[in-house]
């Protein structure tokens, strides 16, 4: 009962932001990840400090930090192949609304030690929690849906687009931490949000957001802009390029 009361209080704290004395201050190493022709992924560092003042209650336990990084979201579809006559073809499928293209859950300890399963589900702390909350196919049995959820998480983790790292957040001093965010080269372009949340005794105390974006720059940006903005001219230039090289080859290697 008391535990439940503390929990509610701490949630008010998250919502109100001032009910608790702890405050989080974070800073991200770069607010723009630029994609150039030599881009092969990126690493960002999020630094944070926990600020306490006189009214902070002294705590017996330690602080925990959970950093959730989400990339641009969009609807996704996962398809399962099955044998249909002599061939293997896509058959069953499951759709997901607004699934983040990139998702990293970085914690200072094992997630099960940081907070309870109820809170993890509620605040979508964890890869599976995020996936389950976005599934769109109630026609399947829960067990069947779970098959798709697990396959989705597995595929995303293999592509390093989903990451859950138990020592992803490192405390440099009792009140100072850093989290390394690794973006693979295939991470989607767009706006990212890194949310750091401070936990103590399983309850969230404070939270702080920072943003960064992944954008093409220079030649890559101009090429993509041309391909999408002026598709006819872009296609025509590609053809002219092909014709020029074909002609050049004929000229250079001419034998008769």
């Amino acid at each position: 009962m008391i535990r439940c009361f503390i929990l509610m209080l701490s949630m008010l704290g998250v919502a109100g932001g001032t009910a608790h004395a702890e405050r989080l201050i974070t800073s991200i190493s770069s607010s723009r990840v630029l994609i150039t022709s030599s881009y092969s992924g990126a690493e960002l560092v999020l630094f944070g400090a926990i600020e306490r003042d006189g009214s902070s209650i002294s705590r017996s336990g330690t602080y925990d930090i959970v950093v959730t990084v989400k990339g641009p979201a969009g609807p996704m579809i996962i398809r399962e192949k099955s044998r249909q006559g002599p061939i293997w073809a896509n058959s069953d499928q499951m759709k997901y609304a607004d699934l983040p293209g990139y998702l990293a859950i970085l914690t200072s300890r094992a997630i099960s030690e940081v907070t309870s399963p109820q809170l993890r589900e509620r605040f979508q702390i964890g890869l599976m929690e995020n996936v389950v909350a976005r599934g769109l196919n109630p026609a399947y049995t829960p067990a069947r849906q779970m098959v798709f959820h697990e396959a989705l998480v597995r595929l995303k983790v293999e592509a390093r687009l989903f990451q859950q790292l138990e020592r992803g957040v490192v405390f440099l001093a009792p009140n100072l931490f850093r989290a390394a965010i690794t973006l693979p080269a295939t991470a989607p372009l767009g706006n990212y949000e890194a949310v750091a949340t401070l936990y103590a005794d399983g309850a969230p105390l404070a939270t702080e957001k920072s943003d960064f974006e992944v954008v093409k720059t220079g030649f890559e940006a101009r090429t993509a802009a041309a391909a999408f903005g002026r598709p006819f001219l872009y296609g025509l230039s590609t053809v002219l390029l092909a014709l020029a090289f074909g002609w050049l080859a004929n000229y250079v290697f001419r034998r008769d």
Partner: protein
Amino acid sequence: MQIYLPIAELPVSIFLILGMSAAVGFISGLFGVGGGFLMTPLLVFLGIPAAVAVATGTAQITASSTTGVLTYWRRKALDVRLGGILVAGGLMGTFLGVWFFNSMRRAGYFELVLNLSYVTLLGTVGGLMLIESLKATFMPSRPRTARPSRTDGRWWFETLPWQMKFAQSQMAISIIPLLALGVFIGFAGSVLGIGGGFIVVPALIYFFRVPTAVVVGTSLFQILFTMAAATILHAITNQSVDIVLALILIIGSVVGAQIGARAGQNIKGEHFRLLLAVLVFGVAVRFAFEIGLKPAELFSLAPMEQRP
């Protein structure tokens, strides 16, 4: 050295792609085929999205057929009129093909369609070529099945309406079957990212009795225009043409093709056709395994595309 592809949105090793396209170019120069049927699957194998591989492959074929057309043009081994009719059909086929490509992609069947088409198309053509060249290699004394000569009975479709004279090919024939052939090649080419030379050449020889001297040049002429149109249509409708990838493919294949063409001069004709048949048939078998065996990964993930 890694280079980031702006449309495919992933980094690739520039030397790997160059080497691969040079190898494909070598084979295409050696056998006088476009090589699209090798290029597209190899790109997919390297992790390039299938749509980008097909759309960008059309640009590479445009370049390699340009080189060929110029060579045959100089030798006057090219029937422009016949080629023009094939192009007219080819453009219609390309429109249909790109439309089909986009709708299959939305429905999530594109990979299956790609694999099935490779199996049937390459399997049929490769199988026929294999039988033909095995006969020629191991039973050289046996007289070849006589092709209907010019004075023999004509195919039923040659006497359809809309007759047209083709001076350079020394024939007069209805344009309907020619248009149909063009439509088929344009369709298959834009869906599969292939030029279709390995279908046009035998079709022109066996069904239309076009003189061998002008067949290859005319086929390249048709491929050049259809593939150029396919590149532009892919660029407009699905934005999957990667100009950086196209450039690497073109450079690699152009150089490879020249080396291949020189190497090919020393191979005997029958062996030559047998090797090509084995190659085409081999690719078909590989695709048959791909869809016939249980895949290692049953699940695939794709963004859900909303219809505008």
